[in-house]
Subunit: 222 residues, 2 copies
């Protein structure tokens, strides 16, 4: 039941998982190739292998989806990735835009005890530094009752809890304008002609474009 997968195999499962959750339908080999910066022909080969191990459902020319086993493994890898990100930011002084590359390596370390002890050491965090939910031991994600900032109405108060685009550029922008996860905000005004928003954030007043607002997640309670 529990295979010993190579890092490459794990990366494929993770890629298929994340592509699947956005489109909710079988993923094309081309999309996977793009995500993993490889070629579609390589993907076809790997997908066949994963299919033999019953980690993905694969029908020629019809895309790929994860089996229950494959999904479990993918989620477990994501869990490790996000826990390590929390550790790096909280305890080792990493910035949130520095953690990804290192977490990509740490996520492949295999030890159930390690993962669960780390989880406990971090006091079972539910979100990573980017606001993405961390699956628990059983693979359940904390449900986020979140909205995109751009959907808030004038007068609403909320809290920034996550970001959609986690590119390094976007993270750097957020740092520059001092928008931090956890920051309390209040919508003061929405400009109807370009949908830019004026808001209070940490006692300061700033204006952000619709572009930015639609890449920030906010939520009401903890």
């Amino acid at each position: 039941m529990k295979f010993d997968l190579s890092q490459t195999e794990e990366n494929y499962l993770k890629a298929i998982y994340s592509l699947f959750v956005v489109s909710n339908k079988a993923v094309s080999t081309n999309k996977i190739a793009e995500k993993l910066a490889t070629k579609a022909s390589s993907v076809t080969d790997m997908v066949k292998k994963l299919s033999e191990k019953e980690l993905v459902n694969y029908v020629k020319y019809q895309g790929v989806s994860l089996t229950e086993n494959g999904r479990e493994i993918a989620i477990h890898v994501i869990r490790k990735h996000r826990l390590w990100e929390v550790f790096l930011v909280r305890h080792l002084g990493f910035q949130w835009d520095e953690v990804h590359e290192v977490a990509e390596q740490l996520e492949h370390v295999k030890s159930v005890k390690l993962t669960n002890s780390l989880d406990a050491f971090l006091d079972f965090p539910r979100y990573d530094p980017h606001g993405d939910p961390i699956p628990d031991k059983e693979g359940n994600f904390a449900k986020r009752d979140v909205a995109v900032l751009s959907s808030l109405k004038i007068g609403q108060e909320s809290k920034i809890v996550g970001i959609k685009d986690s590119s390094s550029e976007f993270l750097k922008y957020l740092d520059k304008v001092e928008i931090k996860l956890g920051a309390a905000i209040k919508v003061l005004h929405k400009e109807s002609f370009d949908n830019s928003m004026m808001l209070w954030i940490d006692k300061k007043q700033i204006s952000i474009s619709q572009q930015i607002a639609s890449n920030l997640y906010v939520k009401q309670q903890d």
Copy 2:
């Protein structure tokens, strides 16, 4: 100057390093093969490759030694291994006989910032949970002024600081008889016919064989 080595290459360098320090002469391919649980023919292949990268000195039929570069990398990997061991025992509740396998994986994670931040987080430990010295950023090992327990004379007081044999069996034995690193001891008696020793350790009196005593390191001051 700084290559991106595979985990396998790093493991070869580490193996060559540790074999070299005990014998202080060029290491045979057979010994390396034994250490890495592989075949001598595989070692020959790899050693040629490392030689081309100028990480080892290799002359056919005459064994292998590390170049300055190779030595640096080996020590850096050992540094990471031992730092992670400290982290696992101190913060994640691992026993000292559980850490090796996990540290073998963690030691290959590549990030200078990670290593040095971890070092700082742990407050620059000088010894790992087995009492082995941890090289600093520059690759310098803390000098241990240690002796083997069996060399102590009657009446001498000391402290257990390390072990020579770190096999799982030995570690388990130590746990069973409650010999811990850091424990203060005093030699009460030495049996001349079998060299077994009677000692005080943590307010208890125990007798240990010469076998055991010669696998324990002790030292005077910190």
